[in-house]
Symmetry: C2
Subunit: 195 residues, 2 copies
DNA sequence: GTCTATATGCTGATAGAC
DNA sequence: GTCTATCAGCATATAGAC
């Protein structure tokens, strides 16, 4: 193979991010030391700084990558025709996508206060962008008369909180699988916005 | 007055808990030092240990007090007659009670992973107890045929996540006051569980 | 690319003076 | 009841050898 002797840079970077994500999710950003992350990867602490400028950037990159991935995956969904179908698609997508990456979801919600102001604003912007995809569906359904909502903005936030809440109690191998959970939640979502 | 000279113990304890709650909510348990808490109260770090055995106990006491208060206030609510009225009462109570103490709610949700196993189990037990007050309402309504739910347990968790979510975006002086918000959420809750 | 060594400072908690 | 002083250890980040 053409790989140069001793060169591990192609995999060390991603492994640092994986280890950091897992540790941040388990113990929290402030409670995790750079030494812990280095130990999990199998390098010395000093080596981390070849891949990240500091601890704050490590956190920010994890959160931005998560939000970017969420937005890209959301945009890549096939476009359903009616507001009702689009809402069903959003509900299923949101639950399944979030259940597949619990650590990234957890860190992205819990560590917002550990971002510096600039980084916080960037993540908040991406989060609002995602919320607007749901709000657009609700507004369309409202205009067509298939939904009846007292307040579109509050309904958006209420539904997202409800759907993301699945991550707080879901455990693999539990009573219900992700597909079944998505169906049950869809039943409640559908009724909550019904005309 | 009969107060002894120099004795401030009657107020220092509560002030320590207030300062700790505020700082934990803003920066997170792991990121806050005992010296910071002491500074906020106006004493030296060593003096804190007259009122708490260690930092962990300080966190646990805050969370347990919050859950105890929540359960006591919930139990003290007047008992409505029908499942529908009880659900409406629960919805309003939950939103208003949580909006009044954002720091305690925030800490009680975000710092669970910083509790030691024993303390974690205690808080989890109280949380489940509170959830059961909602689940009992849903079960009664289901038995009477006024509600239709695909899954009582999931509906309980979904509704609580939705209601508690208000705390993540509510800001005083915003577009809507707590009463109006509670009304809007009640509309969605009512429909989500309707037969 | 990774290592060791190090600078500088903060951590939780305790002992003992007053 | 509060203070000062202190212990032993860990934090982030950098410098320079290999």
């Amino acid at each position: 193979m053409a790989r140069k002797t001793g060169s591990k840079s192609e995999i060390t970077g991603p492994r640092i991010r994986e280890a950091a994500l897992s540790l941040f999710a388990q113990q929290g950003y402030a409670a995790v030391s750079m030494r812990q992350i280095a130990r999990a990867v199998g390098v010395q602490a000093g080596a981390l700084y070849l891949y990240t400028s500091d601890k704050q950037s490590l956190l920010f990159d994890l959160m931005r990558d998560h939000m970017d991935g969420l937005l890209a995956a959301s945009a890549a969904e096939p476009k359903a025709a009616t507001p009702l179908d689009r809402l069903q698609q959003f509900t299923r997508f949101h639950i399944l996508y979030h259940l597949e990456r619990p650590d990234a979801v957890f860190v992205s919600y819990m560590e917002l206060r550990n971002l510096n102001p600039e980084n916080f604003a960037a993540i908040e912007g991406l989060r609002r962008q995602y919320e607007q995809t749901l709000e657009a569906i609700l507004k369309d359904g409202l205009a067509e008369g298939v939904f009846r909502l007292p307040d579109t903005k509050l309904a958006t936030l209420a539904l997202i909180a409800m759907l993301t809440g699945v991550n707080t109690w879901y455990r693999q191998g539990g009573r219900l699988g992700p597909d079944k959970i998505a169906s049950i939640y869809w039943d409640m979502v559908r009724k909550a916005v019904a005309a």
